[in-house]
């Protein structure tokens, strides 16, 4: 899977199926502080990601 983080960096992670929450907490990211898309679509934190999914993580912007 290709994982794009809020700071703009992209990393390749293995395609074993896991929940978004597990993927995020594995990267020290609190799921409440981000929004995640899989292949361009918004998904909840208990959705499963795997294989060649393109995952993007957006920071919940603070303020205003």
């Amino acid at each position: 899977m290709r994982l794009q983080l809020p700071n703009g960096t992209t990393r390749e992670v293995n395609g074993d199926p896991r929940t978004v929450a597990a993927l995020l907490t594995g990267c020290d990211i609190n799921p409440l502080e981000v929004i995640v898309t899989k292949n361009g679509r918004l998904i909840p934190e208990d959705a499963t990601v795997s294989g060649n999914d393109e995952i993007r993580v957006f920071l919940v912007a603070h303020g205003g």
């Binding site: 199926p17 609190n30 799921p31 409440l32 502080e33 929004i35 898309t37 899989k38 361009g40 679509r41 918004l42 998904i43 909840p44 934190e45 208990d46 959705a47 499963t48 990601v49 795997s50 957006f58 919940v60 912007a61 603070h62 303020g63 205003g64």
Partner: protein, 315 residues
């Protein structure tokens, strides 16, 4: 976000909405439920309407000033209020944007505020620190050793209430959300600031303050962000460059961590503060109320916080 319908394989990996057959975009850990774009939006709007009604925040004939920074919270608030008020109340909404003078950040958010008010047909006033106080926040902070968010908060509050008074507003609506409110309670605890902790800002109109309403107080920051994304209200906006240095940033991480491990904790933090404040009111005598010797605003000291701050800078 474009609503793309789920393919057959996706059904197994993306949970359904609890209320319809669409894929969920959000899992609410406190109520253990899944919501799609449409039902998340409806749920957020329902919570706003409930709060407005429960606290009698809006009356027919009201002129409501809304503090519109152009960020996601105030933009979502304006978007929801403009619709809800049209449907239920005979009240007027006027947006006020305060330009603190923060280079590289404000330009974009003000542009976003301008295009949103145009789109919604809401009248919009922009006031600046430069014209009100004769200086920008950027300049203030380079010239004086101030805590950015504290100084900015005091001056922004003054700018907003002065602008609201100029348009004879009956109330000022701001985009504070559930996460913000829980963080503020925690910050007051951690600073040992019990005066601020026990203060009840919603009931101060009798002292000459313009009533402040916070209709998003039952909505988490993440829910507001999702609402903004699925309804196309704001794009990706920059964050305030001063925000990361603040004490609040640390408390935010703390609050998000607690909420994640104990869903509903933020709500309980706020409810605890509310009952504490209610209890305290029975035993604590209200402080003496006077008026600022410099600007005439109601305040508890000789001068208000904003005038005090500005006078100190000129010494």
């Amino acid at each position: 976000m474009n609503p793309v319908s789920a393919g057959a394989g996706e059904r197994e990996t993306i949970p359904y909405c609890d209320n319809c057959d669409d894929p969920a975009v959000y899992f609410d850990p406190r109520l253990q439920r899944h919501l799609c774009e449409v039902h998340l939006s409806q749920d957020v709007e329902r919570r706003v309407i409930d709060r407005l009604a429960r606290h009698g925040m809006i009356h027919d004939g009201d002129r409501i000033a809304i503090g519109l920074s152009g960020g996601k919270d105030s933009s979502v608030l304006l978007s929801i209020l403009s619709r809800v008020i049209r449907e239920r109340w005979d009240a007027e909404l006027i947006a006020i944007t305060v330009d603190e003078g923060i280079a590289g950040y404000r330009e974009e958010t003000i542009q976003s505020a301008v295009s949103l008010t145009k789109r919604l047909g809401i009248s919009h006033h922009i006031v600046s620190f430069q014209s009100l106080f004769g200086t920008t926040l950027d300049f203030l902070l380079t010239a004086h050793p101030l805590r950015a968010c504290t100084a900015c908060g005091i001056l922004r509050k003054k700018a907003l209430s002065d602008a609201a008074r100029d348009i004879s507003a009956d109330s000022i609506a701001t985009g504070h959300n559930l996460s913000d409110a829980a963080q503020s309670v925690l910050m007051n605890y951690l600073r040992g600031d019990f005066e601020r902790l026990l203060r009840d800002s919603s009931r101060r109109e009798d002292r000459g303050f313009i009533r402040r309403i916070k209709p998003l107080l039952d909505v988490h920051e993440k829910e507001i962000t999702l609402y903004s994304m699925v309804n196309g209200i704001t794009g990706m906006l920059p964050e305030c460059p001063y925000a990361t240095t603040a004490f609040r940033a640390e408390v935010r991480t703390l609050q998000a961590g607690i909420e994640y491990h104990y869903p509903g904790a933020s709500l309980r933090i706020i409810e605890g503060q509310e009952s504490l404040s209610k209890q305290a009111k029975k035993t604590v005598r209200p402080g003496t109320v006077g008026y600022c010797a410099s600007c005439g605003d109601p305040c508890s000291g000789h001068v208000c916080q904003a005038c005090g701050l500005l006078q100190n800078l000129n010494k």
